[in-house]
């Protein structure tokens, strides 16, 4: 296993799973990500990321109900685990300290 580093797209997926809470399955996640990020994401890329996150222990999945339009196949619902939440918080914490460390002059320098 490649450790528990959280990639950029993985972070996006993990956040979306948290947003959708108990309705987080493939198609719903895909539409939510496309809507919120404006990227064109394929269902394969999404599921690949979900698989990686589950392997890292950030996600937990269970099979839900089947519907007719899915050809009688069950949905796989994802939920964020405690370590997933911890990873998300750590990423945000690190971002915040980095933002706070940026001196005022760094961004306004060229404009002023």
């Amino acid at each position: 296993m490649k450790g528990t580093y959280l990639g950029e797209f993985e972070e996006l997926v993990l956040l979306t799973v948290a947003v959708l809470y108990d309705q987080a399955y493939g198609v719903a996640l895909l539409e939510e990500i496309i809507e919120r990020s404006g990227r064109s994401v394929s269902i394969g890329a999404l599921h690949s990321a979900l698989e990686r996150l589950e392997e890292k222990g950030f996600l937990h999945s269970r099979l839900g109900e089947a519907t007719a339009e899915r050809g009688g196949r069950r949905k796989r619902f994802f939920t964020v685990t405690a370590s997933g939440e911890k990873a998300l918080r750590e990423v945000r914490e690190m971002r915040n300290t980095m933002w706070n460390a940026i001196p005022q002059a760094a961004f306004s320098g060229s404009a002023a």
Binding site: Y25, G26, V27, I43, G44, H47, E51, A66, G71
Partner: protein, 162 residues
């Protein structure tokens, strides 16, 4: 209104998916693809939905953590892990089917025993008179006198060089 067969994804793509998507994730992955397909049929038409279904399939199959590679058959000669299992099974069957086992193994044992006896007999027959100088030129002649009285019939045997 004309009622035709409901739109479905191309079968060859389904075959690809069932063949290459890992079995653990096959149900929910195919379910998601179907759901997307049926949504797109409503929103963008059947033709576009099929094209996108094919595209999504290939974009899915390039992710190695969602696919499975067929494992080669293990070589039977190098794999002895089943051996103890086979032995256990053999003895259980022998115990359970006593009559059949007796006939089967008894017959085989008798057959092998008689083959060995025949081999020993032939070997002994061939061992005679091998001390002669030209033993491979040795033949046996028999003369049977059938004209004599039955009780008096004699068999004459000579061993000679030809």
């Amino acid at each position: 209104m004309k009622k035709s067969i409901p739109p479905h994804p191309p079968f060859w793509v389904l075959w690809l998916l069932e063949r290459f998507v890992s079995t653990a994730r096959q149900e929910d992955l195919l379910g998601d693809l179907y759901e997307l397909f049926h949504r797109r049929v409503k929103q963008e038409g059947e033709r576009k939905a099929k094209v996108l279904f094919v595209r999504d399939t290939f974009l899915l199959l390039i992710h190695s953590n969602l696919t499975t590679t067929p494992t080669p058959m293990p070589s039977p000669t190098s794999d002895s892990s089943m051996l103890s299992h086979y032995l256990t099974l053999t003895f259980r069957v022998l115990k359970r089917q006593k009559a059949f086992s007796f006939l089967n193994l008894g017959g085989l044992s008798a057959g092998i025993a008689f083959c060995l006896l025949i081999f020993l007999f032939v070997k002994e027959e061939y061992s005679f008179d091998q001390f002669h100088e030209n033993a491979d030129h040795l033949y046996r002649l028999e003369l049977i006198n059938t004209h004599a009285q039955a009780s008096n019939s004699q068999t004459h045997k000579w061993t000679c060089y030809l």
